[in-house]
């Protein structure tokens, strides 16, 4: 397990993770800035860079922490939340391995009968990238309010570590490959416990806290 600072630099939060300057990909994450180069990290992914800079491959690590987004506060999004992400870099790591580890996680966390799908997506620091959905356990995939009638709930983002990220930490993408995945702890907890308003976590009503 590894952690990193909540105040981060542009380099760790964006550049080393293959978000070029002046690229629309940066709009995916509304950022709080403290100075020209300092910001509140928008994800826990900078810790990937910090870990890989501190050691050579192989790397297998999970990274939890608090992250910040300059987004409107509503029942589904809060300006502060938690993420946890995983990173595995070694020789011959494949996309199939990523599917395997996440299938195991979903089975343990949501139950053995939970269905799971991977669909293509885009994150600057992974390629190929995937979003992972589980079958909605509230309506058993029939379609309900929680899953917005799709029958699926998005639970995490993942992908193969982009070669540009490996190069940024002086790993050779021809020698090693890896996968990374990350999820919102708040969101996963909301789904698992049926909590419909993220603000409850930060309001700390004793009657809420006593339930856990």
């Amino acid at each position: 397990m590894a952690t990193g600072p909540e105040v981060e630099t542009e380099y760790y939060n964006f550049e080393a993770l293959n978000f070029p300057k002046d690229h629309p990909a940066r709009d995916m994450q509304d950022t709080y800035y403290l100075g020209d180069d300092l910001l509140l990290r928008t994800h826990t992914s900078p810790v990937q860079i910090r870990v890989m800079e501190s050691q050579g491959p192989p790397v297998r690590v999970v990274m939890p922490g608090r992250v910040y987004r300059n987004e409107e506060i509503n029942p589904r999004s809060f300006t502060v939340f938690y993420q946890v992400e995983g990173l595995y870099v070694d020789q011959h790591v494949t996309f199939g391995d990523l599917k395997g580890v996440l299938a195991a996680f979903v089975e343990r966390f949501f139950g053995p009968k939970t269905s799971l799908r991977f669909r293509p997506s885009f994150f600057p620091f992974t390629e190929p990238s995937a979003e992972v959905d589980i079958g909605c356990f509230i309506c058993q995939g029939k379609g309900c309010r929680v899953c917005k009638r799709t029958g699926w709930l998005e639970i995490l983002g993942a992908g193969m570590v982009d070669p540009a990220v490996l190069e940024a930490v002086n790993y050779d993408p021809e020698e090693v490959s890896g996968y990374a995945f990350g999820m919102g702890v708040d969101r996963i907890s909301m789904l698992r416990y049926g909590i419909d308003d993220i603000r409850l976590f930060y309001e700390n009503d004793l009657r809420f806290l006593q339930q856990f």
Binding site: P24, Y32, G35, T79, V80, T94, F122, L206
Partner: protein
């Protein structure tokens, strides 16, 4: 982006349902978040002709119309101001059910019988237009079903596009994807421009001052157009994808942008001075009014389109007010250009303007699709607004951008994905995307310029993966040994801290790290906190300097809900002003709050309010459970605490926090009744002790010697100070000091107090003799006498 199913079918045959198509899109990376039918179920809405219109006898705002529905004439009461005799209108007959479930019935409206309803566009779910009824074309056949007359029925797919796919920001781009995933063919729109005899070079010259920012600029001129409203099919398509129709020329530019992904701009040619277009950077401070009537002060980051004298548009972002197409425009200059994405991105950020156009340019348009879009727009304008298209295209493209050649190893594809795809399969996916693949391996893949996201082998591998289908890649379970199992001692220590506090009856809370500077200052943190440059709002504009304000807010929240017995803590980051050595300037902090009752009252014991000694006792238990023993409390009279009921917690010589009763000034700010007790610790000091390796100390082999020590000291001497002095004087043989009695009363003089300690001595090497112990006791007594004026009690 919204995709119109009807529009999409111009370019691709779709023989599956829209829902199936949406699922296929989602599973190949174009996420469709909703599928919504538009204008469906309009059976029983027909084209009617308003024969007569008279005012309703008993209502000023209503009129009574006789409407011919083909085989019958109906009397219909209508409230719209724009209804008039002679109009063709959509008439909902009795029995019709409108979108949204409204059922049309024959009814009396203020004494007049009404048989049907003349509908607005909104009532038919055609658009948001609700100010009046919809007026149909003059030649609409009376009595025909509306669905047969108008291209109404449509299905809108809402796509959540990722920023790497600018090519999908158009119907043609989406159609290309649809063709691959449905394994059918894709048709580009056929374009042919009816050109006149006048040569465009006679009418305009283009000069690029900064060809890096604008690598290509093309233009056509069309003379003698007639500006007017667009035909229904065109405005309908634009509205379906959320673009407001304006006039035929502007609508065509928007239509072609949505169709081909190439933003276009139409200028009023007569308002351009000097028959020339110049593309240059803005000067610092140059002013410009965009067509939304806003004035901007520009900087050189912004690219301008100018005529011979003045700027006429902000390149790629928005046109100018002074050259826009108006109802009086006769001649137009049509622009189709390619701009460097980062230039548009910086300009758009700088000016804080984001348009359909800038969004496409900053993601990357196709430099080699520029002329096709220009021709397509010229063709449509000539069709819809008349006029003569000047012969030829002005095309400034000094260094043409070539398609990239990217090598691809099939072995690498399979190695990274965990698949066993054949070279033929890989080739088929890429060819389907419009890429050219060389015959022999290792493949050379030629990627068309409409896919600027593809520059490396890995980008090609991703394309293969998504088209093959992630679901078809087998999950593998990798047997892996422990590679990085060090949990981190600090992580473990923090987990122990949390568990310990929970075991002491505390709830863990998390509060926002972003705080309200006024609140923070009002509860006693007067130092300027660290500000965020772009806060969401003033009350979330600083980083918390302490956990105390946040916890007080939690306390207040619960007090207001009559939840008054509170034991909470937070372990989180606090922030201070950065320095050269520490630009991050954040620390872990641990803070807890105690308020309300020690225990709830019941039949065998009364409820008791918590006090300072509960707090101190809890702190002692906490340290004890963490096996920290070299701590003590020193008096403290600062911060947010009440002097006399507060302490500094020392670990050895290090200050590691404070605790105490909340000062009443602070309490009154947050309007709390009852006392509040707080501890506020610096976690790094705790971690330092907790992460030290713990060594076993061998068990004593020799028996201890016990002695008591009873002294009288002045009242103001603190017991804690005495104990420290005893320990110091006692040296390493003194193992334990325990205060077992404090006495004030008869035998003691006023202003003094009696303290009684029990002391335990022990040596690891031998049994201590009485005289050895006595010697130490005497040394202690002497120290206490000199330090505190302590007198032994007989």
């Amino acid at each position: 982006m919204k995709i119109s199913g009807r529009w999409l079918r111009d370019y691709v045959n779709i023989d599956i349902s829209y829902q199936e198509l949406a699922d296929k899109f989602t599973m190949t990376g174009t996420e469709i978040s909703s599928v919504t039918p538009l204008g469906s179920d309009l059976s029983s809405v027909v084209v009617g002709k308003v024969l007569t219109k008279v005012k309703h006898p008993r209502a000023d705002r209503l009129s009574v119309c006789q409407v011919d529905a083909g085989n019958k004439v109906f009397a219909v009461v209508c409230g719209a101001p724009n209804v008039a005799a002679g109009q063709k209108v959509p008439l909902a007959l009795v029995g019709a059910i409108l979108p949204g479930g409204f059922k049309i019935e024959a009814r009396e409206i203020r004494g007049v019988h009404s048989q049907g309803m003349i509908c607005s566009e909104k009532e038919l779910n055609i658009s948001e237009e609700a100010t009046g009824i919809m007026v149909l074309a003059e030649d609409a056949p009376v009595g025909k079903s509306l669905a047969e007359v108008l291209p109404l029925e449509d299905v809108i797919l809402e796509a959540d596009l990722t920023p790497n796919r600018p090519d999908c920001l158009s119907m043609v781009g989406i159609a290309r994807e649809a063709a691959i995933i449905c394994q059918t063919t894709f048709r580009k729109p056929s374009v042919s421009v009816p050109e006149g005899s006048l040569a465009v070079e006679e009418l305009v010259a283009v000069h690029l001052e900064d060809p890096q920012a604008c690598p290509r600029y093309t233009a056509r001129v069309i003379k003698g157009v007639k500006i007017g409203p667009s035909p229904f099919w065109l405005s309908r398509r634009l509205e379906a994808v959320d673009i407001r129709p304006i006039n035929n020329v502007v609508d065509v530019t928007n239509y072609v942008m949505m169709e081909l992904g190439q933003p276009l701009h139409a200028f009023d040619y007569n308002l351009l001075v000097g028959a020339q277009i110049k593309v240059r950077r803005a000067q610092q401070g140059e002013a410009f009014v965009t067509l939304d009537e806003k004035e901007h002060q520009l900087t050189p980051e912004v690219l301008l389109i100018c005529d011979a004298e003045k700027p006429v548009a902000i390149g790629g972002i928005m046109g100018g007010l002074d050259s826009e197409v108006t109802p009086d425009t006769e001649n137009i200059l049509l622009e189709s250009a390619f701009f460097e994405p980062t230039v548009i991105r910086r300009g758009s950020k700088k000016l804080n303007i984001s348009t359909e156009s800038s969004q496409r340019f900053e993601r990357g348009t196709d430099p080699n699709g520029v002329v096709l879009a220009l021709d397509r727009a010229a063709q449509l304008i000539a069709e819809l607004a008349g006029g003569e298209v000047a012969r030829g295209v002005v095309d400034q493209y000094p260094s043409p951008i070539q398609p990239q050649q990217i090598p691809l190893r099939v072995g690498r594809v399979n190695e990274l994905l965990g698949t066993s795809l054949t070279p033929q399969e890989v080739t088929a996916f890429l060819v389907g995307l419009g890429f050219e693949v060389s015959e022999k391996e290792p493949f050379q893949v030629k990627v068309p310029t409409f896919r600027p996201d593809i520059t490396r082998e890995i980008d090609l591998i991703e394309e293969v993966a998504r088209l093959h289908g992630y679901d078809k890649i087998d999950a593998s379970v990798r047997a892996g040994g422990a590679l990085m199992i060090s949990h981190g001692k600090e992580q473990e220590a923090m987990a122990r801290i949390k568990e310990t506090l929970v075991s002491l009856g505390f709830h863990e809370v998390v509060t926002n790290s972003l705080a309200d500077p006024n609140f923070v200052a009002s509860v006693g943190f007067s130092q300027t906190p660290r500000r965020i440059k772009n806060p969401l709002s003033e009350d979330l504009s600083v980083l918390r300097p302490s956990l105390i304000p946040g916890l007080l807010q939690v306390l207040v929240h619960n007090f207001h809900r009559n939840l008054k017995d509170v034991r909470i803590f937070e372990l989180g980051k606090v922030f201070h002003m950065p320095t050269e050595e520490d630009p991050f300037a954040e620390n872990w902090s641990l803070c807890g709050v105690l308020a309300g009752k020690r225990w709830p009252g019941n039949w065998d014991r009364q409820a008791v309010e918590v006090d300072y000694y509960d707090l101190k006792g809890l702190m002692e238990s906490f340290m004890d459970k963490l096996s920290i023993d070299n701590f003590n409390f020193l008096p403290y009279d600062g911060g947010v605490f009440l002097p006399g009921a507060s302490a500094v917690l020392m670990m050895g010589e290090t200050r590691c926090g404070s605790l105490g009763q909340l000062a009443s000034e602070v309490k009154s700010v947050v309007d709390l009744r009852g006392e509040v007790f707080i501890f506020d610790l610096d976690v790094s000091a705790l971690l330092q002790v907790m992460t030290k390796d713990h060594r076993y100390v061998s068990l004593p082999k020799f028996p201890p010697a016990e002695r008591d020590l009873a002294i009288v000291v002045p009242e103001e001497v603190l017991a804690g100070e005495v104990e420290r002095a005893v320990r110091q004087a006692g040296g390493e043989l003194l193992m334990e000091v325990r205060l077992f009695d404090v006495y004030r009363g008869k035998q003691i003089a006023t202003g003094k107090k009696g303290l009684a300690y029990s002391l335990r001595y022990q040596s690891p090497h031998k049994t201590l003799t009485d005289s050895e112990v006595d010697k130490i006791q005497q040394k202690i007594t002497k120290t206490l006498r000199e330090k505190f004026g302590a007198v032994l009690r007989g």
